[in-house]
């Protein structure tokens, strides 16, 4: 954010005396490692900019909008993109998507049962990140 704020500020001749940014994000992870159901979620991200400038509010507001639009990290969260992954295992390509989720004997047993039942090994992580 600050990189684009400063970069675009120079383009727009905005006199930034000071600029700082605080971020807060909420992430959670839940599911079972054993059953292969782990899933993580980013619930929200908050940013707070502190800007000191002699320029008028409309100019600074326009700059902030540009900075938000140009922030690559923020855009990646706001506009999800495909993520692809490859694995080399002991020197050989491993197509991990061809294997079932969860590889413990318990998970394998669960997957092989004719009837389904839920085995929950709860794992819940939540953290707030402040800078």
């Amino acid at each position: 954010m600050l990189t684009q704020l400063v970069r675009y500020g120079r383009m727009l001749k905005v006199d930034l005396k000071t600029a700082s940014c605080e971020m807060k994000a909420r992430w959670t992870s839940e599911g079972s490692v054993f059953a292969g159901t782990i899933s993580s979620t980013c619930h929200w991200v908050e940013t707070h900019l502190e800007i000191e400038s002699d320029d008028d509010p409309a100019t600074v507001a326009a700059l902030v909008r540009d900075a938000e639009g140009g922030c690559y990290a923020q855009s990646a969260l706001q506009q999800p993109v495909p993520v692809t992954g490859t694995v080399r295992f002991n020197g050989t390509e491993l197509d991990y998507t061809n294997y079932p989720k969860g590889r413990t004997p318990l998970a394998a047993a669960i997957q092989s049962r004719a009837y389904r039942f839920e085995v929950n090994v709860p794992f819940h992580l939540s953290s707030d990140s402040y800078l």
Binding site: M1, L2, T3, C21, E22, M23, K24, A25, W27, V45, T47, C71, Y72, A73, Q74, L77, L125, S127, S129, Y130, L131
Partner: protein, 58 residues
């Protein structure tokens, strides 16, 4: 357009080291991550989530 590359490697405990390099420069930078003790870390470096939050602010 910007394409960036980063490589991460496991070190010890739950610490990892990332090496980043811009596509148009040969210079690389490294930094490490860790986790808090409750997540089996040593709390010696920023957590990966810190890096993601910092990426937005930077």
């Amino acid at each position: 357009m910007a394409t960036v590359e980063a490589a991460t490697v496991y070190l010890d405990g739950i610490q990892h080291e990332a090496t980043v390099q811009a596509e148009d420069r040969g210079r690389t930078f490294t930094f490490r991550s860790d986790e808090p003790p409750q997540l089996v870390g040593k709390d010696e470096h920023p957590y990966p989530l810190h890096c993601s939050a910092a990426a937005i602010g930077l």
